[in-house]
């Protein structure tokens, strides 16, 4: 219990009249990697977005606790400064905002909230260049506008660059692996693994078990129709790869209790 970082308790979330999460619970301890899998439209991004504080969702019941405190009334930037990071499924383009300036402002915001000085321009450049190189991002990309004209894979790598530079406590990675070629996948996975550690936690949303070859999950959860219908270890992902989701859907409809 001492290391409980994120706790989602019986969460019900709606967009307008449409209930999307229908009583979802999840506990993530420090040091753990959780994978969340499930069919399109089952609510995976909704879960990640609600934890990060994206507006547009109504929490109708339940709670989200981070480090033991409810965060539902906190703004997204407050959550980020508390250590929550969301790598978006579809990273947003910011016209006229340079990637480098954006990253530096984000880093300064985090440092200021911890009572630290702003990062010096030289230190920042060094840090940024080293990390960008590790992730195989051309230095030139830092001068370009955020995500503008980036390829799908470049956008995802840029998200991971932000992750490793900002170094949060909880990383929510929403389909960061989608659209990456094999080499890029390895590079991104290495980045995520370097970030991970006993004081960190990772919640990784994915459709493909192949990323789990590189980032080993402690738990795999299957999300169907707004609920976690089964949780298991690494082997559950392999089983899903073979059997798809229908058997779990049928079990869930038959009222089978999800295993712990």
């Amino acid at each position: 219990m001492a290391d409980l970082l994120l706790e989602v308790r019986d969460l019900h979330v709606a967009v307008g009249d449409n209930e999307i999460l229908k009583g979802l619970s999840l506990a993530v301890n420090k040091g753990e990697v959780h994978a969340i899998m499930g069919p399109n439209g089952s609510g995976k991004s909704t879960l990640a977005n609600v934890v990060a504080g994206k507006p547009g969702y109504t929490v109708t019941a339940g709670d989200v606790l981070y480090e033991g405190e409810s965060i539902l009334t906190k703004l997204p930037d407050e959550r980020a400064r508390a250590g929550i990071f969301l790598a978006l499924q579809y990273p947003v383009e910011l016209p006229g905002v340079r990637n480098r300036d954006f990253l530096r402002a984000a880093l300064d915001a985090l440092r200021e909230s911890r009572g630290e000085d702003k990062v010096g321009i030289r230190d920042f450049n060094k840090l940024m260049q080293a990390k960008a190189e590790e992730l195989g991002l051309e230095p030139d990309m830092m001068k370009r506008n955020v995500n503008e004209g980036f390829s799908g894979g470049e956008k995802k790598r840029n998200e991971i660059l932000q992750l490793v530079v900002l170094d949060p406590t909880l990383a929510l990675l929403d389909e960061t692996d989608s659209g990456l070629d094999i080499d890029a996948l390895k590079v991104v996975a290495e980045g995520v693994n370097r970030f991970g550690g006993p004081e960190k936690a990772i919640v990784l949303v994915t459709h493909y078990q192949r990323i789990l070859d590189y980032i080993t999950p402690d738990f795999v959860h299957v999300l169907i129709d707004g609920r976690i219908v089964r949780s298991g270890g690494r082997e559950l992902a392999l089983e899903l790869e073979k059997r798809g989701y229908d058997w779990l859907r049928e079990e869930a409809q038959a009222g089978a209790a999800p295993s712990a």
Partner: protein, 435 residues
């Protein structure tokens, strides 16, 4: 109504006084003033009404109904560093309350003539007579007629060769007066010139600036013309600019508006010879109860013309922005390439934008298009920045600066560009603390 009559009487009395006091002016000038004033009396100010497309969204009655005295006596002294702190490294000709100020003006680089019009009437009589009032006709334009009726002082600029140092023409107003600034810029064949023409207020409170600027680009001339309309928040400014382009000339314009209660920018560029090229950019930033109307017309009269118009606006609080204008491709102006676009960022539910760019094509083999958009800051963008720990105010500031960078990045005079970026956020009360 009675007030409007009173203002006309005031203009008439002031006009008579001017003609008397400047009896030594050349005859052609006195005749020009007379004819223009006669015309003003016939047509008056334009009326915002249905059918008058040019003035549909801008009602000038508030300024037409008010009487502003002519500047009198010795102009107040002006602290340049305070009132226009953005012209480091530029040469300057300055005007205070419509009158040339020797004290605020600086020496000029080689190849550049820049002086008071009053002086140019005699010293550059040929050029002045060839161009003055030739490009900005007053027959159908009440404001231009009035400006021409009060033609006395103003700026005369003539470039020869490539002039490296940018020239700053600044018109400062120091109190509750009406001024009719007149600027004539002549780019000699193949000359290159960069001009900043700015309008500033030394104090708060209403005043009325009725400016007319004529720019003549002779063959192959290149003029970069950046106009800053940055008077105080209560000022009225009707700015008329008429540009005449000869063969292979290149006209680059930036109109920057961040000031004034009621502002109208009336710009027409005539591409009157083959191969002329016009790049028109604009940025308007409005808040409070400001009303800013840009009417920009591009007249392609000859073949192989090229024009690009890109205006952007940020509209906040209860302010209103209007963008209108016509790209006209006349019969015979074949192989014209013209595109205009107006993009608006609306920051408040109470703000309003009317954007109606228009295109009329009567020639063959023409590439042309136009577009207008108006929208709020994307929620997605705001969330994305916040999700990285940046607070909403700073995120907004980033996005607003990002929005304007497309226009302001074209300002190659670095200190000016920086000043404009800063000025842009300062013009929006929501950022005054943050920036």
């Amino acid at each position: 109504m009675t007030q409007a009559v009173a203002t006309h009487e005031q203009y008439e009395a002031d006009f008579r006084k001017l003609q008397e006091s400047r009896s030594s002016d050349p005859g052609w000038l006195k005749d020009l003033r007379n004819a223009a004033f006669g015309r003003f009396q016939e047509i008056g100010f334009p009326v915002a009404r249905k059918g008058n497309e040019l003035w549909k969204y801008t009602d000038v009655r508030p300024l037409a109904a008010e009487t502003f005295p002519q500047p009198a006596g010795v102009p107040a002294s002006v602290d340049a560093a305070q009132v226009f702190p953005f012209d480091d490294g530029m040469a300057r000709v300055a005007f205070v309350d419509g009158r040339f100020s020797q004290e605020l003006s600086t020496p000029l680089p080689d190849g550049l003539v820049a002086m008071s019009l009053a002086q140019a009437y005699t010293e550059h009589s040929d050029d002045v007579q060839r161009h003055l009032s030739q490009h900005a006709p007053y027959a159908d334009e009440g404001f231009t007629a009035l400006n021409t009726a009060f033609l006395a002082d103003g700026a005369f600029v003539l470039s020869e060769g490539a002039v490296q140092t940018p020239l700053h023409i600044v018109y400062v107003t120091t109190g509750r007066v009406v001024t009719h600034p007149r600027t004539l810029i002549v780019g000699r064949p193949t000359s290159e010139l960069s001009v900043v023409e700015s309008y500033v207020s030394a104090t708060g409170g209403k005043h009325f600036t009725n400016s007319v600027t004529e720019v003549a680009l002779e063959e192959g001339a290149q003029v970069t013309h950046r106009r800053l309309l940055i008077e105080n928040q209560e000022a009225y400014h009707v700015a008329t600019t008429r540009v005449h382009q000869s063969r292979d000339s290149v006209y680059r314009s930036l109109v920057y508006e961040a000031g004034g209660g009621l502002v109208r920018n009336d710009l027409t560029v005539l591409l009157d010879a083959e191969g002329a090229e016009a790049h028109l950019k604009g940025l308007y930033v409005t808040a409070g109860k400001q009303h800013v109307d840009n009417n920009v017309n591009i007249d392609h009269a000859k073949p192989h013309g090229y024009s690009r118009l890109y205006y952007k606006g940020i509209v906040d609080e209860q302010s209103k922005a209007v963008f209108g204008g016509l790209v006209l491709v006349r019969p015979g102006a074949d192989k014209t390439d013209a595109y205009q676009e107006d993009k608006n960022l609306i920051l408040s539910h109470e703000a309003e934008v009317d954007s109606k760019p228009a295109l009329e094509i009567y020639a063959d083999d023409v590439k042309a298009g136009h577009g207008a958009t108006a929208g709020a800051i994307a929620d997605e963008a705001l969330f994305y920045m916040q999700s990285r720990g940046i607070d909403p105010e700073q995120a907004m500031l980033f996005l607003v600066r990002g929005f304007v960078s497309e226009i302001l990045d074209s300002v190659t005079i670095e200190p000016l560009r920086e000043w404009l970026v800063e000025r842009t956020t300062q013009a929006l009360p929501r950022f005054r603390e943050a920036a």
